[in-house]
Subunit: 465 residues, 2 copies
């Protein structure tokens, strides 16, 4: 095949250019319900120079390029809609430099979150963004990922100080740098973070780090209703406590976990929390939480500071998505990702449960209360058109509810394929600026085409010659 031959010529190593069926298949999808599509070739670059040569070639020949990290995207980001090249960063997984006194690390995009935290341990440091999956830093940067730690430490965009990128034409640029803040020109770092592989390909990422807290305590509290749990959360947030995590899980989700794990967690709306910091600070927070929660109809209250017991305490939360997936083998799963103002979260969760139940869709629902972001995870039968139409209706209603409250269609997963129509609804008046930027830096539309917004589809590359 022409494309394979050309890439082999560029890379010079048959081990790192693949048209093997299993490899193509692995690069045809993320973790989502979207229809898979195989790339024509998978390439595993090892250096910026190689990425640059591949991009130059792809641009000249108008071949689509889709960056690939751990494959844990929930919105179809890594599906090569138009075939072409899947650019797999597995081999670019070097932690380039740790600067412990600066609280800064520089990594290649293929480094995974767990790999990074393992390497940072000996410095007493850690990287706080935790989207659940052991995603790559490149993928997390591309989607502006966040997760349970965000209420304390912020989203991915808050951590990225600088980037080295290769643009569509193969040129290499650097944005940002090693300082903690900068007002030097337009914020291109923040623009490339969250651009979902459509504006450039990361080859180096400079990240801010955090000191590992001295003490961590985890708390689980159950409530008679979602309202009561929501109100308790709001009061806790308003108390100015240094909350590390605060997650709300609804009753039916706990039921699903119990069914899946054969556990007997109390089937009530549950708040999971974490506090970390110095010992006196954490102890003080715990006391205040107990004090506050007593007045907020709390039914049960547990806390743990031992690391194993802490993990057990969080089990019902962490198993939530798995419960619905395991209960529905062979099904795809769809994850909603709206984010609303804090005070709207408890109503939004109730609305979501009501809609989901009305449509008779199996779902677990849990929320990052500190950010107003929550997920409904549905098990879907992608072969059943009528069912998929209903699922899309539910998704649309959840998003429209969030938008009507000033919220967003995606808090942390990105637009990808599944939320393009919602982006139109949410930011229609700025889409022309977004598309203008895209066209300026990628005039041939080779970088992850068809993601974030629809684009003129490219022909399959080998038909071009």
């Amino acid at each position: 095949m022409w494309l394979y031959d050309e890439l082999l010529r560029i890379v010079g190593d048959a081990e790192r250019v693949s048209v093997n069926g299993a490899v193509l298949e692995q690069h045809s999808k993320g973790i989502s319900y979207h229809s898979p599509r195989m790339p024509d070739v998978v390439v595993f670059p090892v250096s910026k120079e190689e990425v640059s040569r591949i991009m130059r070639f792809a641009n000249e020949n108008k071949v689509a390029v889709v960056p690939f990290g751990a494959g844990s995207s929930l919105e179809g980001h890594i599906i090569p809609l138009n075939g072409g090249i899947s650019l797999d960063f597995t081999l670019m997984n070097e932690i380039i430099s740790v600067r412990p006194d600066d609280f800064i690390v520089t990594v290649q995009p293929g480094v995974t979150r767990n790999q990074l935290n393992q390497a940072l341990k000996k410095y007493g440091l850690f990287f706080p963004v935790d989207p659940g999956a052991d995603a790559t830093i490149g993928g997390m940067t591309a989607t502006n990922a966040s997760g349970t730690n965000t209420v304390k430490y912020g989203v991915m965009r808050d951590q990225v100080l600088g980037l080295e990128l290769v643009l569509a034409d193969g040129s290499s640029i650097r944005t940002g740098g090693y300082s903690y803040k900068s007002s030097a020109g337009y914020n291109l770092t923040g623009l490339f973070v969250g651009s979902e592989g459509t504006l450039g390909v990361f080859t180096e990422i400079i990240l801010k780090l955090q000191g590992i807290p001295e003490t961590t305590i985890d708390i689980k509290a159950t409530f008679p209703s979602i309202e009561a749990a929501g109100i308790a959360a709001t009061v806790l947030l308003k108390a100015g406590l240094p909350i590390g995590k605060i997650e709300l899980v609804d009753q039916k989700t706990i039921q699903a976990v119990n069914a899946f794990k054969n556990t007997s967690y109390r089937e009530e709306p549950t708040l999971f929390m974490e506090f970390s910091g110095s010992e006196p600070e954490v102890t003080n927070s715990l006391e205040i939480v107990q004090e506050i929660i007593k007045d907020e109809q709390c039914v049960t209250f547990e806390f743990e500071n031992d690391s194993i017991k802490r993990a057990q305490l969080w089990e019902a939360r962490h198993q939530a998505a798995l419960a619905i997936i395991a209960a529905n083998p062979g099904k795809g799963h769809m994850v909603t990702d709206v984010c609303v103002p804090l005070s709207e979260l408890s109503d939004a969760l109730q609305y979501t449960r009501k809609i989901v139940d009305q449509y008779g869709i199996d779902a677990v629902i849990f929320g990052h209360v500190g950010d107003g972001n929550y997920h409904a995870v549905f098990s879907v039968d992608t072969q059943d058109e009528e069912h998929m139409k209903q699922v899309e209706e539910v998704h649309t209603q959840i998003v429209q509810y969030a938008l009507s409250k000033g919220g967003t269609c995606t808090g942390e997963h990105g637009i990808g394929l599944g939320k393009k129509k919602f982006l139109q609804e949410e930011h229609g008046d700025t889409l022309s600026i977004m598309k203008g930027i895209k066209t300026m830096v990628d005039p041939n539309n080779i970088l992850n085409p068809g993601k974030i917004f629809d684009n003129v589809p490219l022909s399959a590359p080998f038909e071009l010659k």
Copy 2:
């Protein structure tokens, strides 16, 4: 005058369109050494619709528009280089809505920082970004301002959740929204924040708020050398303490303050700190600071928790810039604003003092240790060409030192006029993208032309007709 007549026709209120000499003069400069230039007309809009009509008119007639807030820019942002319209937001100073349960406020751009905090007090909330001056939120957003609170709460860009803007062609758009995070498309909010009035004019700004901490304690510690103070600061930062502020002031700066205020502060390198939060947390932090600092050659150590005494304790820091200005009446002042990785700060401060002394320039030097950002404030004689050449040489050497350490030429003041050549040096490889964005959204280059980068100068507008 044609321009006056046209604007009066648009605004319909002679009180809000001015060609009065004193008003033009007031809008000819910020607080900096840059040569003033008067606008042709000053307009005081009262609504988005009016801003929109003014922009449409200016765009059709290729008249430059320079947004104006409190006039406290340190980099010449508000100087109408090409004349035209100074768009003064003084009358758009409404706090549109406070949402205490969401920790969100929506303001018009002319609201000042102090006005906002005054209004928020009754909710137990505050807006944390403190650049020193009582700047407008619009101006702070335009320069991505920060200040002493940044080590704890982040920069302006971290607070802005959404914007309503009028573009050069008069169209109105909204970016972001009322949710705490979003991955919906390109991060246009973060692009417009820090765009220095060159991409659009803010008409509404949505900000994140913070709870007022229960307890605040301020600390002052002196050291035998800048090295010792710098090392102490690094150890404190590494200890994972929840530092609210940490500022380093050099010995000669304290001398300048003593001479100016007739005070007798110890003339030694001094660290100023603040801790805030719950009482047990703050007490614990204070104890740890004392413990750490004892081992770091600390000479004197004071702390205060009473609000008046806390202000007194910070006096030497807050008077630093005033000391140099008051001692040099009639002079301009130039403020360097580099930011370096944390571990480089103490060396950078020493390097800066050495260079400044070598050139015999009067200067005070102080740094935001938690961010690696510091300022040298020079008193300059703008009429003396030889002297200005020397001052520019010093500034250039300070910036080049910072860039050689991976830092930036501006941590919080912006590029404006005075740092354009440094932007070329720092981000030359991305300037074409920045300029491409500028050209896309402002093809006639009417929005604050000549700021951030050089642009084709516009003719004076009344010569166009």
